[in-house]
Symmetry: C2
Subunit: 221 residues, 2 copies
């Protein structure tokens, strides 16, 4: 309370739009700092410096580091929805949509600091400090399972395929490829690694007699 | 220097064996704390409490948190070598050895806090605070590629399989399954998830005409 009170003086006489822009600037700055130092290593001071505002202004918008992390994860959820919509758009089949989803998510990780921070938070904070960030995984498993089910119904993926198991596996494999790619190449090799995954996995999940679709899918990967 | 000097008084008049046991106790305690709070969130105080010794005694053996993390990673490297040796022992073929290696590594992660800490450090510290922990991945990719090459030579895996790509993929997928399993079930579902992975991947990598080996391999997974 004391903190909030003291900081009120910092509040700019801002329009709603300016407040929203400032808030977004803080979330982006927090994302950069989470990517650099992780959750435990991030400080509000460094986030304020990164955003080019005072610590007080940060606290005006977010009362704690936990709320900042939550805002990063929420911002990523919106990006993820966009990824899924973009994947639906250009895809002639459900299996093409599945491959496109993984590619678009990879592009997002490579290019967007909020997405990268969100993944680092999910990977790093499984120990209760930031509760239910593990929900990030569940949020991907459901839609992925749905698309796999469609691809089975369309006859492109094997009948009898366990869609839930494949969805869990793809989400976990993506997480691991992202993690290893960050550690070994700063994400530079993520896209070729994702293509390698499909080259390994597709021959085992495509329906017998549909093997001819594999090269086209790999070109979309 | 000052710190080391001040702490000399804490040094027990210990035999070599006792010093080694103390050192191991500190490494185990550090592993527990790294698992709980990650690298950035771990403090020497908590590690000392966990080990039941003074902060001074910790500093006598390890001058910094970084050296402690390094010791955890090194201890895991030894365990990993044991995993590989155990996997060779009971395996009638190279492909069986590959499946056994993944299983034994899963068991290690589930049961051994040093292994779990080492994985968390590798996943969490890709940003230069602890250099080349990413080497943990490379340390697994080489031996895995070797076993895959043997399995191709033995005719169980497809000729023309890219052994390096499959090795990179398996190491990354394992990393991701471990990460997701920690976040969603405290590692309780890791072993069934690893079996799911093989059920998905094996049909695409087993050599044509060798599909009958899959059920036996899944029983070893």
């Amino acid at each position: 309370m004391r903190r909030l009170f003291r900081l009120k003086g910092d509040r700019p006489v801002a329009t709603q739009a300016r407040a929203i822009a400032t808030r977004k600037g803080i979330v982006d700055a927090a994302a950069s700092v989470f990517v650099r130092h992780g959750y435990a290593g991030a400080s509000i001071s460094e986030i304020a410096d990164e955003a080019g505002i005072t610590k007080g202004a940060v606290y005006f918008h977010f009362r704690s580091k936990e709320l900042l992390a939550r805002a990063v994860v929420d911002a990523q959820d919106e990006l993820a929805t966009q990824v899924r919509e973009r994947s639906v758009a250009g895809s002639p089949s459900a299996v093409a949509m599945l491959v496109a989803m993984v590619r678009e998510l990879g592009v997002l990780m490579r290019d967007d600091v909020v997405a990268r921070a969100s993944m680092r938070l999910a990977v790093e904070v499984p120990t209760g400090e930031l509760e239910d960030v593990g929900g990030t995984y569940e949020a991907w498993i459901g839609p992925t399972e749905h698309v796999i089910g469609q691809a089975v119904a369309e006859g492109d993926l094997r009948a009898g395929l366990d869609a839930a198991a494949l969805a869990r596996f793809l989400v976990a494999a993506f997480t691991g490829m992202q993690t290893v790619s960050v550690a070994t190449s700063q994400l530079e090799d993520l896209m070729p690694r994702l293509r390698e995954m499909w080259a390994i996995v597709l021959p085992g999940i495509v329906a017998p007699g549909r093997e001819h679709i594999i090269p086209g899918l790999l070109r979309r990967a």
